[in-house]
Point group: C2
Chain length 257, copies 2
């Protein structure tokens, strides 16, 4: 659990959660448990996606994947335990009971069906099929978008923000998530393994549904930029400091576009 | 998810939850979401434990295990999705926010470390080691006891019961869980696959830590009966109808002792 959860990473989801809390006028220091919870859910999904039975990846975040290091059985269970720990942490964080319960429900909805796990299933089932924009968008919306969007929404919730502000943050997250995924697809095509900390070109080898596969590299790059624009417009009504969220939206496509 | 969750089974955990709600003076009809959630967590753990990388079982509840039917990738993810769905359901059930949040935290604590998943890890790590009573008890307390105990405690929570009554129900569940596990170990030694709906003698083949391995069949049977006695004494202070919980305590060792 520690090996995978503490491996070097961008911590995009917890950072988005903390920045969203600030943008909604809250104190990010009080949403650290929720931030850890979304990262644990992300890490759980990486451990399971990397398993031999699923994507069979050996390298993640620059180090051996969990099952390469500890064996398949322990990797499956380490993922499960991180998933459980995430729900324990967010449901018992230092906040009003309504916030604890609603934030937990938002996290669980983003993680399940339709959400992170369902997106992985679609991803597997679509391997080897013809590239198709709608299929790509749905896979990414579930597999990556829902948890990123929920991270932002939960950040708003921990700030005690009104439903409309939480919704705006959720929408911001949806666009940033899409931008981030397009960038990830592009990097999988154009980077070296050293730069990326994981195997490259693996999506193409498996005939995975990716944005570059559907719309070409240039099309994917301009789609990523459009997503960032849409994300930024969602921030206009928020009453807190949105500076960090603006930077993060730009950062999501930073290395790829 | 449906294939495994709806397969024939005793539904011990949800039935204990509903009966605990009644024993605490609540309306079991209002705790159905929580009851489904504990069964989903149980089912998630069965799917993952049966995987080739873990116990490698082909038969469960009288039918092919999830990975035999749908492949390993889908089985891993079906388990993950049931786990997520459980937390979604219990955190958004029709109850006061404090009950939703606290019941979710209790379920997550029982499922993780130390709890269900940690118990499975201990179980794997102890295979092939010398039989040892303390090790057996810890494995069972975590792997089976915590979720059964939490099911009873959560039943009390959904009834809006006082902390002392929830604690008594949790203790009742701990003893019943231990009785149930001893009975399960005994049945694994003495039944046919047809009676059990899963492979028999598999624990002994793997040198698993079991009660019969540590204290013999007769010792295990009298230990199971003692657990039931202790469970029944926990019910004395409850203000609701404890008849169902009394029957369930007896039922836990029914086929084995």
């Amino acid at each position: 659990m520690r090996y995978s959860a503490l491996a070097p990473g961008k911590r995009l989801r917890p950072v988005l959660l903390l920045a969203s809390c600030r943008a909604a006028g809250g104190d990010p220091g009080k949403s650290l448990d929720a931030a850890c919870a979304v990262e644990m859910v992300h890490c759980f999904s990486l451990i399971h996606d990397d398993l031999p039975a699923i994507d069979d990846d050996d390298l993640r975040r620059g180090i051996a994947t969990c099952h390469v290091k500890y064996g398949e059985a322990v990797a499956i269970l380490a993922g499960d335990a991180l998933f459980a720990f995430a729900f324990r942490l967010i449901s018992s964080m230092d906040a009003m009971a309504t916030i604890r319960a609603d934030a937990t429900a938002a996290l669980a909805a983003a993680a399940g069906t339709p959400g992170l796990v369902a997106g992985e299933v679609l991803d597997i089932l679509s391997e080897g099929t013809e590239p198709d924009l709608q299929a790509v968008q749905r896979i990414h919306a579930w597999k990556t978008g829902k948890l990123i969007s929920a991270s932002c929404e939960i950040g708003g919730m921990t700030a005690g923000a009104a439903a409309a502000d939480c919704h705006a943050l959720s929408e911001y997250g949806r666009w940033v998530g899409q931008a981030f995924q397009i960038a990830d697809d592009i990097l999988n095509e154009t980077s070296t393994a050293e730069e990326l900390g994981k195997a490259v070109g693996s999506d193409r080898e498996r005939n995975k549904q990716t944005y570059p596969a559907v719309m070409g590299l240039q099309g994917a790059k301009s789609a990523a930029r459009e997503c960032v624009e849409k994300a930024l417009t969602e921030l206009q009504g928020l009453k807190g400091d949105t500076e960090a969220l603006r930077s993060l939206a730009m950062y999501s496509i930073d290395r790829s576009v």
